[in-house]
Amino acid sequence: MARKTINVDYLARVEGEGGVKITFDGNTVRDVQLRIFEPPRFFEAFLRGRAYTEAPDITARICGICPVAYQMSAVHAMEDALGVTVTPEVRELRRLLYCGEWIESHVLHIYMLHAPDFLGYPGAVEMAKDHGDLVRQGLELKKIGNEILEVLGGRAIHPVNVRVGGFYRAPTRREFAPLAERLKHARDIARATVRWVAGFDFPDCERDYEYVSLGAAGEYPFNAGHVVSNKGLDITPHQYDAYFEESHVKRSNALHSHLQGRPYLTGPNARYSLNAAQLSPLAREAAQEAALGETCTNPFRSIVVRAVEVLYACDEALRIIDAYREPEQPHLDLTPRAGVGYACTEAPRGMLYHRYRIDADGSILDAKIVPPTSQNQPSIEDDLKTFAGDWLDLPEEALRVRCEQAVRNHDPCISCATHFLKLEVVRM
């Protein structure tokens, strides 16, 4: 039997450093290894002893692409530990902030990281030579997402305005007014984006995933809800540790997470499949037009789901800004107490779990953070195991590109996935 190995030493157009190795034995895929060599950064270790108020700013630094997700999971977990619930006004502003991050992160992925695979370019800059207007349109849409983050968060990367209990300052209606006009424009681009990506050529790849996301919240999920799956799971974030388990895989500087021993998938396809009914009418219409159906089990079509979520985020941001009244208090005044807090929120690339135990003086005793990419890793490898055998007839370079594309389907954020590993000291 001919043995053949496809090695992608350095995955391009993903956030962070990783590679893939696939070993074929004849027509069968013998082994798939998603290797992550991003150096570990030990966030959980140095969170110990920090003040509970510092968690949103410190954990934001795990990921420059989705810092809002880290801030949101951190503040909700801390509020859970303190036994407080934020005001409805703060809740809405947090949804708005998440809209900004989804737009920015999804559009980055759609236009700059993933679309070049479908159209046969090494990257967006090269793609811009032939499709300048399209790339400019994507950059414009991404910019509007960043503008939400700048007005509400102070800046796009590592926003400064988020605190446990709310925001340091609530923007005025007047500050938001120009955003409303921009968002109407964004909505048009987002609609066009759905049409554009829906026309791509998708390989015929369906998988029977166990999809996990927040759900049952009466809204398309950002910050609230149960943890649900399409195979019957329905738990609260408090029960997360009893159902999900992480294990260390030697070849990778990241942990793998399983749901009662089973691989599962979080992210846009999971969110959509479990919550499609909660999308805005415009987003639902666009999804229908893109022939998405009630669920989407083709990972290559995640780019269409991302585009639908961008459209939803534009719509939702407009709704929130239209209804916005400046709150009397932008945040709750909090007193620390000993306790444990749990939270799951929906990062652009999937569910993000935080758990903290804090002391009576508000110092963090221990922290646990499970980012979406370590949850998705087993499923990413399974995708390649399932699909790659059918692609063996492709020429070598096309096969390599197709395998890379299959990894990029899940927008893996390798920086996120490697923040925790124990330090390995080499003594010579």
Binding site: R41, R50, G64, V125, K142, G154, N161, V426
Partner: protein, 258 residues
Amino acid sequence: MNAGRRPKLAVWKFASCDGCQLSLLDCEDELLAVAGAVEIAFFPEATRAVVRGPYDVSLVEGSVTTPHDAERLHTVRRQSRTLITIGACATAGGIQALRNFKDVREFTQVVYARPDFIDTLTTSTPIKAHVNVDFELHGCPINKHQLVEVLAAFLNGRQPNAPAHSVCVECKLRGTACVLVRGIPCLGPVTHAGCGAICPAYNRGCYGCFGPMETPNAPALSRKLEACGMGQRDLQRVYSTFNANELPFREESARHGS
């Protein structure tokens, strides 16, 4: 640089969150112009295409935390005419340098056979600790407008306009009333400018993510912060975040505990 040839730009990553290199992709209005002015020769987060070195300008993100990265950094330096560090990780060791203090304590009793080796594995160090650096851009994250300015400056053979004064000057320029006089603890007086004084404009004290300014007087500020109600533990923590390894912040943090 030869006339007629576009200068080659490379973007390198070490231990980091990717936020600073994302700043380049966040230059939505300038990105295609930058891509026209330079040849994006190595930027794995944006393209799988690779053009061989040497490179005219290398942007380096992230800190050195492994022996392999320490070696890799030297190959980056050898291929780069100009090397610019972007962000607090590359410039100061980043938040992951918090481990440095823990390990220093743990290992004070230990006699190292190969301290050089162990250090690179148990500490997070800035790029300048390993190779010569031509310019350091501060911030966690960097300010994208400053990034464009620094790139334009190097491509045109002039000095970048990136002042090393404090955030206080930026508050004055922005017209923000001082938060410190209202009793909100603020690191603005000792922190390097560049962000545009965002935090005080959001009713919050600066938390020092751009690192120490030139010649800061941190002990004087700490007295002021104590008057705002900060205890010793808060003072120890406030200087010990994203630029914890920078000497003025490290020393001031250590004065208030460990």
